[in-house]
């Protein structure tokens, strides 16, 4: 479904990604693990179209999407929960969700909003509240809900666990399992390897802009290097 091929991305003279290749298959959940500054966010930004790579290709459902604007990529079936959530601060919870479904017909928006409220009941309680008055956890839920409103085929999630209380991290990750049951593919970019590996099928390890390791969840959980670096021994 998604294929990143030999991607090189640079900001001026500083190269952030080196020959990164990875793929996400239909109905699959994949994690990209790595420390701060490994290039995880750059990867997500390239896929969404915020950053133009120097070379390489990004293909979605068999076609290159490099020349597409971010909003055209959303139309193809991508959606993003960016680092920090980035909800629209001065819009209500409801308007944030409506904006998430910007390209969807009115009927789909109504249906999906009900689904989001089912997944995150607290958002329904706060539906008229302005987003900047929400707590960090609620904002993160809103950001995920907003991405779901786009009815994505592939959901890109950047550092969802950062700054969240452990109990909320568990809650959010359980939502990902639920999404997979609904047929959404997921590309999860995370520092939190422990929780991520519980919900994905495969993972890649990114270090200093290069993929250094990849494999199925079981393989990685058993790998001594991963255990040492990301799972606390």
């Amino acid at each position: 479904m998604l294929e990143v091929q030999q991607l090189n991305v640079a900001y001026g003279h500083i190269q952030a990604l080196f020959d990164v290749s990875l793929s996400v298959n239909e109905q699959e959940a994949v994690a990209v693990l790595g420390a701060n500054g490994a290039g995880k966010s750059t990867l997500i930004k390239s896929i969404m179209g915020w950053v133009q790579p120097a070379s390489g290709d990004i293909r979605f459902e068999g076609e290159s999407i490099l020349h597409l604007q971010p909003w055209e990529r959303v139309r193809r079936g991508l959606a993003l929960t960016p680092e920090g959530g980035r909800v629209f601060p001065d819009l209500s919870v409801e308007d944030n969700l409506r904006l998430g479904g910007y390209l969807q017909p009115e009927e789909a928006i109504r249906e999906d909003m009900a689904t989001v409220f089912e997944l995150f009941p607290v958002l329904e309680e706060r539906r008229k509240q302005i987003a900047k008055t929400l707590s960090g956890g609620e904002r993160q839920m809103l950001a995920i809900g907003r991405a779901l409103m786009a009815r994505p085929k592939l959901l890109l999630i950047d550092e969802v666990s950062m700054g969240l209380m452990p109990i909320l991290v568990k809650r959010v990750f359980s939502v990902f399992s639920e999404l997979r049951r609904r047929g959404v593919s997921i590309l999860l970019v995370e520092q939190n390897a422990f929780e991520s590996l519980k919900v994905v099928d495969r993972a890649y390890v990114l270090e200093n802009g290069r993929i250094v390791l990849s494999g199925t969840t079981e393989e990685l959980q058993a790998d001594p290097r991963v255990r040492a670096a990301y799972l606390g021994g």
Binding site: W71, R86, F88, L91, D95, Y102, M149
Partner: protein, 289 residues
């Protein structure tokens, strides 16, 4: 003059300020560009209005077409200049904008366009009545300005709050990148932004032309810096802030001119209001820190 009369005169002035400043603050909100050339759009609107009025004799048609022409000019300005400067430092579009303003007003002074003359715009009050009460009087021209401004601002409010593209616009004004990533076509939203804002500026030009019965190529000069006072007062990019600041500035101007007007000219008073205000609220009335 009674204070009620002063207040009603202030509201007429505020209506013009609101039409002018809302487009400017909308452009700043989405693009973070100080759109100096907005005042040139105002002049072009007035010029188009007077030409069409002289030609067909119907004020409402002239107003409508002048707004459409101004709106299209706004889109041309965006797609022809700022569009290529979105990733440059903010000084680049600012300088381009100053250049555009000078270029358009100079062009308008050419003989094949307006020439260096004033043109009369004798539309009067477009047939509207004079309103007289015990406390204040509104001339037909003043009624016209209030009516048009209120109707247009109500229309703008509906577009921005009740339509999908309006929601996209509000999202883009808060976080452009994120709005693009939920599917908002930024080119379309920003073009709409320029069309609406510029159409309002064109309407302001027509109304001021009618009010003073005069249209000339440099009529945007004073307006351009007045509109800047207003969007700074209101908080850069805030539409409600611009409306509020327009009213405050118009009221302050009118009352200060009526009381200490013999000391300072009107425009000096406007700047004095700005300076004093900014000492206490540096990010404006409704702006963010």
């Amino acid at each position: 003059m009674s204070w009620m009369q002063n207040l009603s005169n202030a509201m007429v002035l505020a209506a013009i300020y609101i039409l002018m400043a809302s487009g400017l603050t909308m452009v700043y909100g989405v693009l973070k560009v100080l759109h100096i050339a907005h005042a040139a759009v105002y002049t072009v609107g007035a010029f188009a209005g007077v030409l069409i009025y002289t030609w067909v004799g119907n004020f409402w048609l002239a107003l409508f077409l002048a707004m459409v022409i101004s709106g299209l000019l706004g889109i041309v300005i965006y797609r022809g200049t700022y569009f290529y400067m979105l990733d440059s430092p903010r000084t680049v579009p600012l300088i381009a904008s100053i250049g555009l303003y000078v270029m358009i007003t100079d062009l308008l002074q050419k003989d094949f366009l307006m020439g260096p003359y004033q043109r009369a715009f004798p539309a009067q009050g477009a047939g509207l009545p004079r309103i007289e009460t015990r406390f204040f009087t509104l001339t037909p021209k003043q009624v016209l300005i209030l009516l048009v401004a209120v109707a247009l601002m109500a229309l703008l409010y509906v577009v921005l709050t009740k339509t999908r593209i309006g929601l996209g616009w509000r999202g883009a004004a808060q976080d452009r990148e994120m709005a693009a990533s939920v599917g908002v076509n930024l080119n379309r939203v920003i073009s709409l932004n320029f069309f609406l804002g510029s159409a309002l500026a064109g309407a302001a030009g027509v109304l001021v032309g009618v009010y003073n019965n005069s249209v000339f190529a440099t009529m945007g000069d004073v307006v351009s810096y007045k509109a800047f006072i207003i969007i700074v007062l209101g908080g850069m990019g805030s539409l409600p802030g611009a409306v509020l600041a327009s009213i405050i500035l118009a009221v302050a101007e009118n009352f200060l001119v009526a009381t200490v007007g013999y000391v300072l000219p009107r425009d000096a008073i406007a700047f004095l209001v700005l300076i004093v205000f900014l000492m206490y609220r540096p990010h404006g009335l409704l702006g963010k820190e």
